[in-house]
Amino acid sequence: MPNTAILALEDGTVYQGRAYGARIVRTGEVVFNTSLTGYQEVFTDPSYTGQIVVLTNPQIGNYGTNAGDDEATTPYIEGLVVREWAESPSNWRSDASAEQFLSRNNVPVISEMDTRALVRKLRMGGVMQGALSTAGHTPEELIAMARNAPSMAGLDLATRVSTKDRYEWTAPVEPCCPTDIVHVAEPGTYHVVAYDFGIKRNILRCLASIGARVTVVPAGTTSAEVLALNPDGVFLSNGPGDPEPLEFQAAQVRGLVGKTPVFGICLGHQIIGLALGGKTFKLKFGHRGINHPVLNYRTNKVEITVQNHGFCVDPDSLNANEIELTHINLNDQTLEGLRHRSHPVFCVQYHPEAAPGPHDSQYLFDDFAAMMKEFKK
């Protein structure tokens, strides 16, 4: 097996590093994530579908992987770019090394990369398509692959990663060790129907923790089908790709507004934005990390939030008489949350379910519970 890995970008830049993980070639949009913890959650977040992820934390793999931290049944990243890769783990929770985990899930890793230089390039030049090979491809082949890889814009990836079948979820957040404190409400208090556009498990766990029985439905489910399930509320999940092509989903949301409480996260937020007449646009290099300050206009407090998005809802495209802007990103003033002024609909661009990241925004699940309770009356 070759020891050398090559990452090529569509602009012709070629990086050489050491190969780990699966011996394979993959293409995708090259994006970076600045989290210091939670690489396993990043690997398994379906929102990373179609993306090769650069982690800015230089030491990756240190604590291995464990089944409890999976955000989906398998990793979704196309490839991984790191500065240094730890082959063997050190943590009592670990049940497999990160190396075993990615190898058996066909994800290639390029290590000993100057990740900082690559991040600086992406920051200045914007995200690019890339091809990562641990299987002995030549730089020329990889540049060609990178150039032929489909652009993220206009791509409906949500439907691709969504569940094919409806299923139920009732497992709440579990403590990770004897001193972990988790709060779990009375189970079965609410029935939530959750649209799966690439949903993270921790969203399901958080919904279960507020007492919800969750029915997860495919991305193609109609609003009528959803309402027929008699939900106390509807949830719209995170997911990969460009929101613009998701016209069907936006239409279903329009069919739900006013009829049941609606809560959306990330792609779910963008779909709600589109449904309410807004527009979305693509960010130069996206927000991916767990340290983004977001101001909640309603409480005038700042939350440190988890972010993973390349697209944004344009606040100027929304009707201010109908829509209240509730949250804003303090780094670049982009829109982070909104709610409908007259109907029980609210959503955030960031990830209150964390995993990985701070728990500052978990109150949003409680807000959703309160909204459902109110609506029931």
Binding site: S35, L36, T56, Y63, S90, W92, C176, L330, D332
Partner: protein
């Protein structure tokens, strides 16, 4: 929530002298706070007893008081200055304790001063271990099982319940002072007894052992709107059981899953909220059981700390500065991130490198001390290194320590491996490496050390790679191999040793291969946003972000980790060098690796390189920056050691020529210079063997002073009164400097020692100060008190000193600062030592005279003349700077931290810090200095004397004076007889070896308020030591020299006579 407009004048209390557990980090935090508050239009009143600090520079506050940090003096400052608020959280434990006392004694209420930063209830909840435990229980967090002990019996009873080992911590002591781990009954009795005594509230907390658990710290900030962030996570390489200050620590945390980290984050924020720290920075420490993840809260500090200084340097997030702004009402999101400029300070920094901090110990200075590392901090300094990987940072850190040891373990003993791994000690890291070299596995080493296997594997992998490389010849090394070696942090010196060549050859070869250092930025955000601050570290990555300017620029080499003899004083000089360069319109580039300091604040210089001070690293920076000059004379011995090699490598050193600096250190050459100048020096000789040393000593006549050629803080220096001592010295001395001869001087007994700091260009010499030492010659100059202006030296001798100083400056072509040490014996002036560079006393002289010597020195180095800089010197360009008040500098010693060590002073420097006392007369200034140094002289009670025959006549006169002042006298038999003969009333007590109750018993009982015990000669009897030791342990001032005793008498007289009064530096120097 914008700034508060209802307060205008804010008092900041500093942390006092540098001691173990409280060092430059509080100069850094205090300086940041002063700057931030003044920038916002507040008036700042600053109080600190430490003249070596940058914060006590009159520029940084509206009124600066170098006064004792006691309630009485603080009240006087408050009465005079009438501040609206007191910021309690930036002056370490000392500042916090004094703030609490001021509040509790009603002083703050009396003068209407509001405590800002942390409220009194919060401080108590955080500091009182029982209240803290209750608070944690209330929010569902666990703490180790514990009980508060008020007696040894309490401890024995608790031990029956939880068993040993047991962790013991006295309440309210700094740096864990007096704490320890009891493994058995005997340990428990010893530690509890001592701890009860050291604790101001006479309590010791006993705790369940979490030894071997993983240890973490989170640096937390919160504003008045309850926005809270974690600035940095720190993981200790050394597991629980070793004080964090004595642990190698790593940022960010490396071995926690996100779930575990977020649990810790939630706990830290909950803790901050429950304790009620409204604003500012705090740190919370956690322990995690590596087997099941059980987490306990260990403690929290409701103030900025050593760790917050480290976290600030590690992330680029200036905690103290922001804490000060939060304390006056700002919200986190109203403050901009200086580095990115575009984003707010309300975020959590993320980093794309690894930071390693390594402590530096100096047990060799304290023979007889126990070098086991426990919960009481013993290190005197630390170094921080930044690398793209843990291995790179660790190796950079090791060489930044300048211990003279390489990271390899050649001199280690395989027999000692288990012991050195199991019991934490300063050599443990070296033994971990050594164990791997000897074939131990990661599992073996983990079993013995409980150091996380991830760290151990990193070290082991590094060693494996080194072995792979060691088999090669330099010519065969490929680019990839070379780059990997450098990326692992291996130095050219080390590679040279591996490949049997020298460092410069390796350097040349790797440059040929294209393996050169680049510089990355510390930017708080892992490159997500553009950085506007050139805060840099070296790496072997693919692109360089240094972006040097084409301005005129000068690079300043700092002083590295604090150690005894080289600390804050040199950081003061380096910072002033930087400020001066900026004033002269020159770009300043700072190089240093000490995370505690102001010099490593990215705000201090135009550009900051956080790098070890080695030839390799400095040349790397030089290659990239190409500065017009490099300053080596401000950082103590560290940059001086690099001066000649840098000069040879073509680096332009500005100021005094390195060859002349070297000349002053070379005894033979310098002896010739002195002869030519007709300046007397004590007769001397050099020796490279024992026989030679004995011959020289005989020729000179005993006593002799024996020392190595290059000395720092008098390291390894002794006064020998007999051949036996010389013999023993020569046996041990070879360990220190095999290549350099030992110097032997005739020792001038009972001489008065004098230190002179002077500014020199090639035309003029301006003397900053002639400092008269209070202790006789023979005590290291850093360990003796001294006074400005001189008090007892006749004008004739002062004139001689001025003349000699001018001659020496001209002869050595000094440009910048020079320090000369003189001894005056029987009216004759001798030169002891000349250092053509900034000295330890430069800040003290600057504070006493109001003239900032290093700033002017920089002007001279840039080619200006003293005559052109008279606007900075009060109009003088020659002669001696005037001193308007009497200023006494006194040393501060760490003896209380080292049980069993004899506190007698000698030629080996052992003080960690200094204080200054200001007065209208000598007695007042000396009394204040002693009070600040933690040696409060009594105003009544009994004084104990034991005086050798030589001094009996003097002692009688002194005793008379004490009797007149109302003190009672007690003395050992011989001394008592002399007192009685002079008609004095005196009680006789036994010496220790004579019977009981003896002097030690009386000290322990608290019957003695002051001990005057003079010794001369080589003898150091057990009982003398016992008396001095017990005086230290029972906190009774103990004076061991007659001159010190006379000074004390004057101080005590002044205390009884003069009113309690304080002066700000601005008042004294008539700041315009």
């Amino acid at each position: 929530m914008p700034r508060r407009n209802d307060i205008h004048r804010i008092l900041i209390i500093g942390s006092g002298p540098i001691v173990i557990g409280q060092a430059c980090e509080f100069d850094y935090s205090g300086t940041q706070a002063c700057k931030a508050l003044r920038a916002d239009g507040y008036q700042v009143i600053l109080m600190n007893s430490n003249p070596a600090t940058i914060m006590t520079d009159p520029d940084l506050a509206d009124a600066t008081y170098i006064e004792p940090l006691t309630v009485e003096y603080a009240e006087e400052v408050i009465r005079k200055e009438r501040p609206d608020a007191l910021l309690s959280t930036v002056g370490g434990q000392t500042g916090l304790n004094l703030s609490v006392e001021l509040a509790e004694r009603g002083v703050l209420e009396k003068y209407g001063v509001e405590l800002i930063g942390a409220k009194i209830d919060s401080i108590k909840k955080a500091e009182d271990r029982l209240l803290f435990k209750d608070a944690m229980r209330k929010i569902g967090l666990q703490t180790p099982l514990s009980r508060l002990l008020q007696s040894v019996d309490d401890g024995l009873e608790f031990a029956q319940k939880i068993g040993y080992p047991m962790i013991l911590r006295p309440s309210f002591t700094m740096g864990g002072s007096g704490g320890g781990i009891a493994y058995n009954r005997e340990d428990l009795v010893n530690i509890v007894e001592r701890g009860l005594d050291l604790s101001p509230v006479h309590e010791v907390l006993a705790e369940e052992s979490v030894l071997g658990w993983k240890e973490y710290e989170l640096e937390v900030m919160r504003d008045l709107a309850d926005n809270a962030i974690i600035v940095c996570s720190i993981e200790n390489f050394d597991p629980m059981g070793v004080h964090t200050g004595d642990s190698i620590t790593v940022a960010p945390a490396q071995t926690l899953t996100d779930r575990e980290y977020q649990m810790m984050r939630d706990a830290a924020l909950a803790c901050l909220r429950e304790i009620g720290v409204d604003t500012g920075g705090s740190n919370v420490q956690f322990a995690i059981n590596p087997d099941d993840g059980r987490m306990v809260v260990v403690e929290m500090n409701p103030r900025v700390s050593r760790s917050s200084a480290l976290a600030s340097k590690a992330t680029g997030f200036p905690i103290a500065k922001i804490a000060a702004k939060l304390a006056v009402g700002y919200r986190l999101d109203e403050i901009k991130n200086d580095i990115t400029r575009a984003t707010p300070a309300c975020f959590e920094p993320t980093i794309d490198y690894v930071v390693v901090k390594i402590p530096r110990w100096q047990f060799e200075k304290f023979p007889g001390s126990d070098n086991t590392l426990t919960t009481q901090m013993k290190s005197v300094g630390e170094v921080m290194a930044i690398g793209r990987t843990f291995r790179q940072a660790l190796n950079k850190g090791i060489r930044g320590l300048e211990t003279g040891k390489s990271s390899t373990a050649e001199a280690l003993d395989p027999q000692l491996i288990p012991q050195k791994l199991i019991t934490p000690n300063p050599d443990r890291l070296a033994y971990v490496r050594f164990a791997f070299e000897q074939g131990y596995t990661v599992e073996d080493v983990f079993e013995m050390t409980k150091i996380d296997p991830w760290f151990l594997r990193q070290i082991n992998d590094g060693i494996t790679y080194e072995h792979e490389l060691a088999g090669k010849a330099l010519g065969d090394v490929t680019l990839l191999e070379m780059r990997r070696a450098k990326r692992d942090g291996l130095s050219d010196v080390r590679l040279g040793r591996m490949w049997k060549t020298d460092a410069l050859t390796v350097r040349a070869r790797r440059k040929e291969l294209g393996v050169t250092a680049v510089f990355n930025r510390v930017d708080t955000c892992a490159a997500e946003f553009e950085s506007f601050t050139p805060y840099l570290y070296s790496s072997y990555e693919s692109e360089c972000e240094a972006a040097p300017t084409d301005r005129k620029k000068v690079m300043i080499l700092g002083s590295g980790p604090n150690r005894i003899g080289q600390g804050l004083e040199f950081d003061y000089c380096c910072c002033h060098a930087s400020f001066a360069l900026q004033e002269f319109g020159v770009e300043s580039i700072m190089v240093n690796c000490n995370p505690e300091t102001v010099s490593t604040d990215y705000d201090t210089s135009d550009r900051l390189y956080f790098e070890p001070l080695t030839l390799e690293e400095v040349l790397n920076i030089y290659d990239r920056e190409k500065p017009d000059g490099v300053i080596v004379q401000f950082g103590g011995q560290t940059p001086l050691n690099l001066a000649l090699p840098l000069k040879r490598a073509g680096v332009p050193i500005i100021g005094t020529d390195p060859d002349n600096i070297d000349l002053a250190e070379d005894r033979k050459l310098f002896g010739k210079v002195l002869e030519e100048l007709q300046i007397p020096a004590p007769p001397y000789g050099t020796a490279t063997s024992m026989e030679e040393a004995i011959t020289v000593a005989r020729r000179l006549g005993y006593p002799v002073l024996v020392r190595p050629s290059y000395v720092l803080g008098g390291r390894a220096m002794v006064i020998a009164y007999d051949e036996e001592t010389v013999r023993r010295y020569m046996q041990e001395a070879t360990l220190f400097s095999p290549d350099r001869p030992v110097l032997i001087d005739r020792f001038l007994e009972d001489a008065i020692e004098v230190d002179v700091d002077a500014l020199c260009d090639l035309d003029d010499v301006l003397i900053g100060g002639i400092m008269e030492h209070i202790e006789e010659a023979g005590i290291h100059s850093g360990d003796s008190s001294c006074v400005l202006p001189p008090q007892t030296i006749p004008e004739r001798e002062l004139a001689t000193i001025r003349t000699y100083t001018e001659r020496l400056a001209r002869a050595l072509s000094v440009i910048g600062l020079m320090n000369v040490q003189y001894a005056i014996k029987d009216g004759e002036v001798f030169v002891l030592e000349v250092n053509p560079r900034a000295s330890r006393t430069a800040p003290y002289v600057s504070k006493a005279t109001g003239v900032r010597l290093p700033r002017i020195a920089v002007g001279l180095m840039l080619g200006k003349k003293l005559k052109e800089l008279t606007h900075l010197t009060g109009g003088l360009y020659e002669g001696v700077l005037p001193v308007k008040q009497v200023c006494v500098k006194s040393p501060v010693f760490p003896f209380a931290k080292f049980q069993g060590v004899d506190p007698a002073l000698g030629p080996e420097m052992r003080s960690t810090g200094e204080v200054m006392g200001v007065g209208e007369n000598f007695g007042e200034a000396f009394g204040k200095a002693q009070l600040s140094a933690g040696v409060p002289l009594p105003t009544d009670g009994t004084i104990f004397f034991s005086i050798n025959d030589h001094h009996k006549a003097d002692a009688v006169a002194l005793a008379k004076k004490f009797a007149e002042l109302g003190f009672e006298l007690t003395a050992t038999r011989g001394t008592a007889a002399a007192f009685k003969a002079a008609g004095l009333k005196v009680r006789t007590v036994f010496k220790v070896n004579e019977g009981r109750p003896n002097a030690v018993d009386l000290i322990k009982e608290g019957q003695m308020k002051l001990v005057i015990y003079t010794t001369t000669g080589a003898h150091s009897f057990a009982d003398e030591r016992a008396i001095r030791r017990s005086a230290v342990m029972w906190r009774v001032p103990c004076i061991t020299t007659m001159s010190g005793a006379k000074a004390a008498a004057q101080a005590m007289e002044s205390r009884l006579r003069d009113p309690l009064r304080v002066w700000s530096l601005q008042e004294i120097h008539g700041e315009d």
